[in-house]
């Protein structure tokens, strides 16, 4: 994983400002990501994921607050197991924890950790945060309907040449491009 040299930091020697480094070459990052995915296939016999971890946590939370309700719901039941092991001892939950650590590590090394809000110039921070929440909710719903998100279905299923995953992937790009016009104020 290479990064382009941070020429900026060399110039500001007096201020000792660590400017964030530019992002790495996408193709090389892609190969790295592909190798991580391949390693997961070869070692664990499964690919990556993210939405499943959230489902597990939601199911456990619902089960703690309303056990009978959770027991009757076929969706939550899938994520609770049969009661012999703690449902939070789930591969995806641990993997997502790793994702957070990995993201933090990479961000620290490249000086990209910063408390801020990513948004376009024509929209307020508050609007952006609301949009993020709404977008997240839609994604949560869509991901469960499709049995996975971009990590699990598009990446993992895509490499596996799974029919449903490829159909899903095209629907995601389709939906995104079609709707992009309506939210362009947020980004452009």
């Amino acid at each position: 994983m290479t990064t382009l040299s941070g020429t900026f930091s060399k110039e500001k020697t007096e201020e000792k400002v660590f400017a964030p480094k530019p992002y790495s070459n996408p193709y090389i990052v892609g190969v790295g990501l592909g190798l991580v995915l391949l390693a997961s296939f070869l070692i664990m016999g499964r690919g990556l994921g993210a939405s499943g971890a959230v489902s597990t946590v939601v199911a456990v939370a619902v089960e703690k607050t309303a056990p009978e309700h959770a027991a009757k719901n076929n969706f939550y039941k899938e994520y609770l197991g049969d009661g012999t092991t703690n449902p939070l001892k789930d591969w995806l939950v641990f993997e997502v924890i790793g994702v957070a650590i990995g993201g933090f590590l990479s961000g620290s090394l490249a000086h990209r950790i910063k408390g801020k809000v990513e948004k376009g110039p024509n929209v307020s921070t508050r609007t952006r945060l609301i949009y993020a929440f709404v977008g997240g909710s839609l994604m949560g719903f869509g991901a469960k309907l499709a049995r996975g998100c971009t990590s699990g279905q598009a990446l993992t299923g895509g490499a596996f040449l799974n029919l449903g995953s490829w159909a899903f992937m095209m629907a995601v790009f389709g939906g995104g491009y079609l709707f992009a016009y309506f939210v362009r104020r947020q980004w452009l």
């Binding site: 193709y27 090389i28 990556l48 994921g49 939405s51 899938e78 197991g81 996975g148």
Partner: protein, 218 residues
Amino acid sequence: MKNLLNGLSTPKKLAAIALLLGVLALIIGNSNNRNKISVNANEIALSTINDQDKISVNTLADWLIKGNADFTLVDLRTEKEFNEYNIPTSVNIKMEELLSSNLRRNQKYLFYGSDDIASAQAWFILKSDGYKGVYILKGGMNSWKNQILYPERAAIITSDDSLKFEKIKEVSLHFGGTPGIQISGQTTNTAPTQINVPQVPKLSTPLGTTTKKKKEGC
């Protein structure tokens, strides 16, 4: 040519490699062709000599009574024969369905037919296809009937043998058989009756699934 290669940026080099591998894949066609298998003759010969994949009916009876369920018992005979009588907890997979059924390479299977032949053939085919956990029930159904269901002892035996026979009788009765005493000139050829054996536990691992309890999702 060398200058051309050096002049390409890394992404272009990667693209060239990918294209090469893609074309090679096209030529290869199918990554796992089940019609052609490679037999490791040495391995097969050795394991045949060493008797390592054969299980006796007595051992099987022992396992069933104790509830040892880390394998799947497979009956290779026809449906009719299977419905007439089958060893408890076995599943019926006919020889012609063997390769298209959901047998997994990481699980254990114990095969039996009427005698040794069908199970030996299944063992050979699967062993060559990469299955490590395949076993043969020595003697097949015939042995099961003769030794477990209808064990016979000679009319006159020593007291030691008599004690041993008591154990054999217990096992036989457990599986719904009828132990007997050899009467010269007569043979017991009664049709076996399928008796419900409540103490023998149901196999906990149905065919084709792994023992994971939670669903594997993403």
